[in-house]
Amino acid sequence: ASEVSEAQTTDSDEIITPVSQKHPKADSEKMCIEIVSLAFYPEAEVMCDESIKQVYVEYRFYDLPLSETETPVSLRKPRAGEEIHFHFSKVIDLDPLEQKGRRQFLFAVLTGQDPERGHLRFTVVSDPMAEEEKECQEVGYAFLELWPVMDSGRDILERELDVVSPEDQSTPIGRLKVSLQAAAALQAIYKEMTGDLFS
């Protein structure tokens, strides 16, 4: 019986939608990172390395445990010309009161005062099969620079980043597709940290 008082009718008067308790967060108080897909170049060494059978992708973000920032599954290593699709998206809370540390971390990345000098680093990891007694092995890195996102105010939609091997960061071995919705948050963070006087 209580549901009627907690609900409101629409103008059609036939459909009842409960009043939402949730207030969607403002764009400046969250960001979303999506690891979309991965492909390797046919000539890349990783393609002929038969010990690499499946891979996942991870990144590090301040206080978030890796279990939240790695793709929850490993996928079969892509074949020549094939793309494997994770579609792993994560919304990161950047509440100005509760997540000051994350906002300071992003400011440090924006201004290049972080270990990756202004980039988010994505790591492609070879995940040994369950029956193998081997360690996970990093097989590639991809870097996403944050400053241009803030500077342009434009989110990134399915951008292909070069994947380079850990040993030789000058030769691309594949492409990692990522999306980043963060422009509004990065601009707000930059403004609040620099006390932008011009706005």
């Binding site: 059609s12 949730k22 996928l75 792993f88």
Partner: protein, 379 residues
């Protein structure tokens, strides 16, 4: 604070996931005053709901007039199609950009895009209101409707199948014609018991439980061995399923089949929509989805790139493309699922109906009243 599911009335609610246009595409729910849904259908970006009072409600994208509401503006709330109020609407099928409905009296109406004649009205002019497909009369007792990307199908209780619209890939089973604008019978000489139109391929089942597929042949979605693909424009028996087939659902590039004992899938599974794990992203050979082998599945539904299964005890498993939350597995953190994944949000519900669309999914579920009582007594 009360759990949100406790707000759902005993008669249940419709739950929306993904890009539905409802509630700004956030996971949401609604229910009807003194009415319940009895049938759901999702197109590429629009949705139809039929209620127990035989009313038709539509919402979603409307670029082609596919909501049949007399305009082409997007509709974000389920809206009753008043023009059909005199009719008792029984079934609906949402295609990529058009809609078919049928009535208890055996009438068929169509609205929306019509560039391939998929409205069955003898021309290729789009319509933003429902128009009667005059081919069907009260003599046709309609059992099922289906609609794909510019294709339409009506199956009768007698086992007669009629299809029309785009035939560029043979997806309405006619060998040498690009499209037809009026219903055309498709037959293999045996009565047919189930039809499903995918985006560019189609499948039906005979009353004997044999599966036939036709249409676009790429990526294994017809489930046929290579030597049969040359004839992909006519219905061919899928040989790889040694059991009686009960239901088939065609998605964008994949096909899912329910037999008496198992669920099979084939075609494209790059996002996990085959449910065959993280190593098989394509197969032309029908394969059993092992992960739900212990479950008795009662219903299957395919969207463009995702799949939903309902079990006999009203649980739901989803898999495939997780974007926009269309798998119903979470609020904002999404990922592709490569094996059937239990929608644990619904553990306290009985899933009654599910329909998967292009980037969305609708579920009608009723509370498990016995469980709610158990919980109350624990408090």
């Amino acid at each position: 604070m009360r759990e949100p599911e406790e707000m759902v009335p005993d008669s249940g609610a419709v739950f929306t996931f993904g890009k539905t246009k409802f509630a700004e595409n956030t996971p949401s729910k609604f229910w009807f005053k003194n009415d319940i849904p009895i049938y759901l259908s999702c197109g590429d970006e629009h949705t139809a709901i039929i209620t127990g009072n035989n009313k038709l409600f539509m919402f979603g994208c409307n670029n082609w007039g596919q909501l049949g509401l007399g305009s082409k503006s997007t509709v974000s709330k389920p809206t009753c199609v008043k023009a059909l109020k005199q009719e008792k609407v029984k079934f609906a099928a949402c295609g990529r950009n058009h809609t078919l409905v049928s009535t208890e009296g055996g009438k068929v109406y169509a609205a929306g895009g019509n560039n391939e004649g998929q409205l069955g009205l003898g021309d290729t002019e789009e319509r933003n209101t429902f128009h009667l497909v005059s081919f069907f009369t009260s003599q046709h007792k309609i059992k099922q409707l289906s609609a794909g990307s510019n294709t339409s199908a009506v199956l009768t209780e007698d086992g007669e199948l009629f299809m029309w619209g785009d035939n560029s890939e043979g997806q309405i089973g006619l060998n040498n014609i690009t499209n037809v604008c009026v219903p055309h019978q498709v037959t293999v000489g045996k009565p047919i018991s189930w039809i499903s139109c995918g985006y560019y391929h189609s499948a039906f089942i005979t009353t004997e439980g044999e599966l036939y597929t036709f249409g676009e042949a790429e990526c294994g979605k017809l489930g046929l061995p290579p030597e049969l693909l040359v004839n992909h424009k006519v219905p061919q028996l899928v040989p790889g399923i040694p059991e009686k087939v009960i239901q088939v659902a065609c998605g964008g590039g994949h096909t899912v089949v329910l037999t008496e004992n198992a669920v099979y899938s084939f075609g494209l599974g790059q996002f996990g929509q085959l449910g065959l794990g993280t190593f098989i992203f394509e197969t032309s050979e029908p394969r059993i989805i092992d992960d739900i082998k212990d479950q008795k599945i009662s219903h299957i539904s395919c969207g463009e790139n995702h799949t939903a299964l309902i079990t006999d005890i009203g649980l739901m498993y989803t898999f495939g493309d997780g974007r926009h939350g269309k798998l119903g597995l979470g609020l904002e953190n999404f990922t592709n699922q490569f094996v059937p994944t239990l929608c644990s949000n619904f553990l306290r519900f009985i899933i009654q109906l599910v329909a998967c669309g292009g980037c969305h999914m609708l579920v009608f579920a009723t509370p498990r009243l016995d469980m709610l009582e158990d919980n109350d007594s624990d408090e």
